[in-house]
Subunit: 249 residues, 2 copies
Amino acid sequence: MKAVIITIGNEILKGRTVNTNFSYIAKILTYSGYEVIKGIIIPDNLNEIAKAFKESFLEADLIVSSGGLGPTYDDMTLKGFSMAFGLKLEKNSDALNMVLNKVHDLTPEREKMAFIPENSTPIKNSAGVAPGIYTVISGKTFIILPGVPREVESVMEEIKERIKIKGFYYIDKSINLYNVKESLLAPLISKLMKEYGSMAYIKTHPKINEDGVPWVEVEVSASGNNKDDLEEYVSKILNTIEKEKNNYV
Amino acid sequence: MKAVIITIGNEILKGRTVNTNFSYIAKILTYSGYEVIKGIIIPDNLNEIAKAFKESFLEADLIVSSGGLGPTYDDMTLKGFSMAFGLKLEKNSDALNMVLNKVHDLTPEREKMAFIPENSTPIKNSAGVAPGIYTVISGKTFIILPGVPREVESVMEEIKERIKIKGFYYIDKSINLYNVKESLLAPLISKLMKEYGSMAYIKTHPKINEDGVPWVEVEVSASGNNKDDLEEYVSKILNTIEKEKNNYV
């Protein structure tokens, strides 16, 4: 199952805010059984939002967005989403109750957060006012999250069991190899990928210590339905690297 | 002038690594006079890399990528880039000297880092082995960076004066408003955007203190050629917000 993550917000595109929402969401989706095939970062712009949702709909089974659900003039994610699929924004009583649980007087800006796309479900946001949105269009699932990181986490916690692919496991283990250079280790990694690459993925992360001496973190990951097999497989590859690394220094 | 930033790497799409390269590059481009209109995050996959470069070429004046320049089997950015534009990868003597300045014996994996697209220029990488790449295709500028953050910074430092748009200024100032709620402040922001929105951009960032009390950071930014005018303009808006905020609590 493929997933695309859309990040909406000028503050990300200007480099003002680091996109921690992306890594948070991506990790949950990976461990839930999805292959995250793409990330798209777009501005607070109606046409760009609609375009990103439409394109992602064609490419993925699950689309998760963050940003643009708040009360201000530039929060327009639900409008863009609705535009993309020709949906109406409707006042939703569950969403309204969620908003009213958080605020006392209902100004127009606050009421706006209770207008959600037709046939969608609001998701509880314990850390903020605007609910998240869950909806399915032609078999593709959309999860629309707020932008503030603590709110993203709160809404994802509510919904993550619902999107988890049952019986799926993702295993990711690393070893640190000191006094090893990535470029010298490369032939070993290529050799192992030829041997094991159909079932596992090996990636090297070059590092440097305080004295400028390079070392390498080697990550091995695999995914599938049998957890024990995956564990065994990943460990076997890591053991081979550990054993053979001295031939590559 | 519009810019697109491409991030290449499975570790980002799996949520293993936070994409700090994106915010670092985005901030430099913003302050250099570019409007970053989009970010794309793609896996270490030849076709996806070629597709991302081709699409970005149609949308932007400057395209900056990070990731995939190293010595391992899954470092394939230059191959993907060359595929996108029908270019040959050629052994470049400047690039080779840069590599040889860093390593003593030239294995095939190390030599690979000196093969760069025809008609492109290597950029010095003080923090690593693989040079960055600078090239212009049909008036569009491409900067291709490594993926390790300290190497991204090193190469960007080398090249950033070259891409800076002369006489351009970007101003970004913030004030913190305590005991203010974003949803109540929203009408003031909308009013000010109607008045000043053609020349400045106002964005609210909702926050929460240790005791759970909400406060708001208001950011005002503007860009143009007259630095003094911009400073004055942004300050004027901030002063208005400061003065009128008490009507919105």
